[in-house]
Symmetry: C2
Subunit: 464 residues, 2 copies
C-alpha cells in the first residue's frame, strides 16, 4: 500500500514570535536534561560491556535484543515489543594468516622472510577449508584486474589496495570510493580465477588492526575466501612488491554460513496525542560486526534513539504523532530488520510520516541530511538560526539511513532524515576491534541525542 499523506511543513519565517520563543525554550530544556540527566552513555556502557559485539544470528545478538527490550521497558514507554525477523547466520570461526616474502632482489644478502599476517575474514566469506597459499598480486581497481586478465590472476591471491582518498573532507565519501573492493572484490577476482582476495582495510591512516565488513558473492561465480588486512600491512605488502619481492600469503579461515535463524527488531513507542495513527520512526541498528563492541557502529545510534523518546517522557512532552524507537536487527549483513519493519508497516496498514536514523557514530553533532521535497528541505534549512547555538550547522539533502530506507518504497510521502555527527574519526574504528565504548565521548553522545530529540520535537510540532 502506498499511502498519500499531506505533508506540509511550516517555514520558520512564518512562525509567530511566541511559537519561535516557545520552541527555543523547549530546545533548551531538551539539551539541559540530556546533558545533566542523560542515560544514553550508561546504556551504551551496559550494551558494550555486558553484551559486547553482536552479529546477527549470534547468542550475543539475542542478548542485545533482551537488553534493548528491558532498557525501553525501564524507560517507561507506552508499549515495547519484539518484531520477528529471520536473519542470516555467518560464523567467523578461527582464522590466521601468514606472509612469505622472497629474497629481496635489490639486496645482496637478503633472505626470504616469513611473518604472521593479522587478518579478519570479511563478513560472509567462505572458509578456506584448510590452509591455502598463493602469490599476491596487487590491484587498485576492477579495470586493472580486467587488464591483467586470467593469465596473470589465475591461482593467485588478489590484493585490493586502493586507499581512502584523504582529500574528501567528509570521510564517508572516501569510504564510498573504496568500498566496492571489499563488497565485490571477491567475485570480480573470481572471474579471472583468483584463489582468494585480501583487501586493504576501509580506513584512513595507519592502523595495525584490520577492519571487517560485508561482501557480496555473485551467484554465478565461484565463491572464494576474502579477508581484510590492516592499512599498515597493506602498505608493507605493497612496498615489498614495489621492491621486486614476491609475496605469498597463506590464509586459514574456518568461517561458515549456517541456515537463517529467528531474531528480532526491538520497538518501543510513545503514543501520539493528536495523530496516534501517524508514526515517526527513530532508529539505529542493534547488530554489529563480531569484533570490537559495536560502540559507534551502531550502539550509539541505538542508545540515542531510545534517549529521544526518554527525553520526551522526562520533559513531559506528549508527542502529537506516535514516536517509535526502533533497534533494527541485521543492518550489517542483510538489512533484514529494516526490510521487515517496512513490510510489516505496509501489511498492517500503518501510516508512516517521518523517520530519522543515527548510524554514523556517536561523535559531536553537525546536523542532518534530508530525503524530502523542496519545501521540506527549505524547512530543515530554516532551523539554522534556532539550532546554531547548539553547534548544528549542516542541513542538506542527502541519504538518511539504510534501516529506514525501505520505508520510502512503501510510503511515498514520508520524509526521512539522517543524523550527521562529525565524520573524521569514524573510520578509525568502523568494523574494527577498536570500536569500543572507551572511544565514545559522553558529551558528544549526549549532544547527539539532544540534537535528534530536538529535530523530532520540531517535526512533531510542525508536521500537519
Amino acid at each position: 500500500m502506498k499511502t498519500r499523506i499531506l505533508f506540509s511543513l511550516l517555514c520558520l519565517l512564518t512562525f509567530s514570535t511566541s511559537k519561535a520563543q516557545s520552541d527555543s525554550i523547549t530546545v533548551r530544556r531538551i539539551y539541559d536534561i540530556a546533558l545533566t540527566q542523560g542515560e544514553c552513555y550508561e546504556n551504551l556502557r551496559v550494551l558494550c560491556k555486558q553484551v559486547g559485539h553482536r552479529l546477527s544470528g549470534s547468542a550475543q545478538a539475542e542478548k542485545a535484543v533482551v537488553w534493548g527490550k528491558q532498557t525501553m521497558e525501564k524507560a517507561g514507554f507506552d508499549q515495547v515489543w519484539l518484531q520477528d525477523v529471520m536473519v542470516p547466520k555467518w560464523v567467523r570461526g578461527k582464522e590466521k594468516g601468514s606472509l612469505l616474502l622472497s629474497k629481496n632482489p635489490k639486496l645482496k644478502d637478503g633472505n626470504p622472510v616469513s611473518a604472521t599476517l593479522k587478518i579478519t575474514a570479511l563478513g560472509g566469506s567462505v572458509g578456506t577449508n584448510g590452509p591455502i597459499t598463493g602469490e599476491v598480486i596487487e590491484v587498485n581497481d576492477f579495470d586493472e584486474l580486467k587488464r591483467l586478465g586470467t593469465e596473470n590472476i589465475k591461482g593467485k591471491i588478489v590484493f585490493f589496495n586502493r586507499p581512502f582518498d584523504p582529500t574528501f573532507i567528509q570521510t564517508f565519501k572516501a569510504y564510498g570510493h573504496c568500498v566496492n573492493q571489499r563488497v565485490q572484490g571477491a567475485s570480480e577476482a573470481a572471474k579471472f580465477g583468483a584463489k582468494a582476495v585480501i583487501v586493504r582495510s576501509m580506513a584512513h591512516g595507519h592502523g595495525d588492526h584490520p577492519h571487517t565488513g560485508s561482501i557480496h558473492y555473485e551467484d554465478s561465480l565461484k565463491k572464494i575466501p576474502a579477508a581484510a588486512v590492516s592499512t599498515v600491512m597493506a602498505d608493507k605488502i605493497s612496498d615489498e612488491l614495489k621492491q621486486g619481492r614476491k609475496v605469498s600469503v597463506t590464509l586459514e579461515m574456518d568461517c561458515k554460513v549456517f541456515p537463517d535463524v529467528l531474531s528480532h527488531n526491538v520497538i518501543g513507542e510513545l503514543k501520539g496525542s493528536e495523530f496516534p495513527d501517524r508514526i515517526i520512526t527513530i532508529g539505529g541498528h542493534l547488530d554489529s560486526w563480531d569484533i570490537g563492541e559495536g560502540a559507534h557502529d551502531d550502539g550509539a545510534g541505538c542508545v540515542q534513539s531510545i534517549e529521544v523518546l526518554r527525553l520526551f517522557k522526562s520533559l513531559g512532552i506528549r508527542p502529537r504523532h506516535t514516536l517509535r524507537a526502533v533497534l533494527f536487527m541485521n543492518e550489517e549483513n542483510g538489512l533484514r530488520g529494516g526490510k521487515k519493519y517496512a513490510d510489516e508497516a505496509e501489511r498492517k496498514g500503518e501510516i508512516h510520516v517521518a523517520g530519522l536514523e543515527s548510524d554514523r557514530g556517536g561523535f559531536a553533532p553537525r546536523g542532518f541530511t534530508i530525503e524530502g521535497n523542496e519545501q521540506q528541505i527549505a524547512w530543515l534549512r530554516s532551523l539554522n538560526p534556532l539550532l546554531k547555538p547548539y553547534d548544528l550547522h549542516f542541513f542538506e539533502p542527502g541519504g538518511s539511513g539504510a534501516d529506514i530506507g525501505p520505508l520510502k518504497k512503501k510510503f511515498s510521502n514520508i520524509v526521512l532524515f539522517g543524523f550527521i555527527p562529525d565524520s573524521q574519526r569514524y573510520f578509525d574504528h568502523h568494523h574494527a576491534e577498536t570500536d569500543v565504548f572507551e572511544t565514545v565521548n559522553k558529551r558528544e553522545l549526549e549532544l547527539g541525542a539532544a540534537a535528534m530529540a530536538t529535530l523530532i520535537y520540531l517535526i512533531d510540532r510542525n508536521l500537519l
Copy 2:
C-alpha cells in the same frame, strides 16, 4: 608607538566572479596538500615523543626551542630566529597525598579508612615543607567561603568543588565559570586562615587523573599550598562529607619557585612581496604544563602555525604581507612570550596588521573568532559560502588568543582571529597526563592547519 594602519577588507559580495573562482581553487589546493603531504602530524609526534612536556624554565622547554627552530629551518622559511624572553621557573618536585576518612556515623561497624590521594600541585604553588594534614571543608564558591568565615575555615584544608556546568554547549564557557577556584582559590582561602586548598579538576566527567594549571597568589596574603584532585576523587570526598564523615587530607609537595631564567620565542618568517613591512602573526604556545606531552595544549597550535607557512611555500604562494609563525614561550604561567613579542614589535617600529592563534586543541575545525570592527566581522562572516564545503561554519566575534592579545595594546588597528576547533573533548585532556600525542587525530589536526592557512591566505589577499 601606536600605529594607525588603514585596514579595509573587501567584502566577498563585491568580489568579481573570477576572483571568487580563483580563491575557491586556491583553498582547494591548500586542503589537498595539507591532507596528502601534510607534515604537522609528524612534527607533533616528534615534539611530543622526543621532547615531551616542556614547562617554561625547564630543560625540555629549551629542547623544544631547538626543535622549533630546526623544524622551521627545515621547512625553508626566509628567516628563523629566537627572541629572548625571561621566564619564571617553577619546579614541581615530588608530591604525594593521602586521605583519612573517619568512621562512618551511619554504619554500625564502620572503621576509619585511609587511602592514597592522587594529587597534582597547581602550577606556582608553594611547597608544603614536609607533610601537612588538615580536616577538609568543602565549598563551592567564594561567597560560601565568606559565609563560613575564619571560625570554620582556620587551620583546615579548603576543598573547592564547584563542577563544570554541562549545559554550556561550548566547554570553554564551563571552564570560564569554574576556573577562579583554581586561580584565586588559595588566596581566597588564605584570607580565612586555611592551611591549604585542594581543587576539583577543571574537567567534565569522571576522570581519575588530576588536571593542573596556574594559580595566582595575592601579594598581601599568605601563600598556602594548592593541589588538584581528579573529578572522581572530588565526588568521592564530597560523598563522604555528605554522609557525615570527617575527611582529613595529608599533602606533601616539594614544589618551589626559582629565579627567572632565559628562554625564547621561536619565530619564522616568509617575507611579503607587496608589503614586506606589514606583518601577519600566526602562533601557538610552545611551553606546556609538566605532565602529559602538551599535545593538544598547545603542541597542536605550534605545528599548525608552522604548517601554515609551509603550505604557502609548498604551493608556491608568495604572500603579499610578511607572514610570521611564532611559537610563544610561557603562555601557561606568565604570558611572558606574548608580552615580549608585542613589546619588541613596538620597540622596533614594526607594523602588525593581523594575527591568528590556535590554542584550543587539535580537534576538528569549526571556524574562527574575530576581534575586529563591524566591517571586519562582516568580512569574516562573508566567507561562509566559500568555507562551508570544508565543514567550517563558526564565524563570530570573540576572543582570539592569549599570546597574540598583547599586540592589541600596541597596534590599535590590528585585527585578531582565534582558531575554533570542536571543544567537546578538550577538557578531558587539558593540563593532564592524558594530553598525549595519541589523543590527536591526524586528519583533524591537518584540517585545522588547512583552515588556518586558508584564513591567512584570504586575509593576505584582501587586506589593503
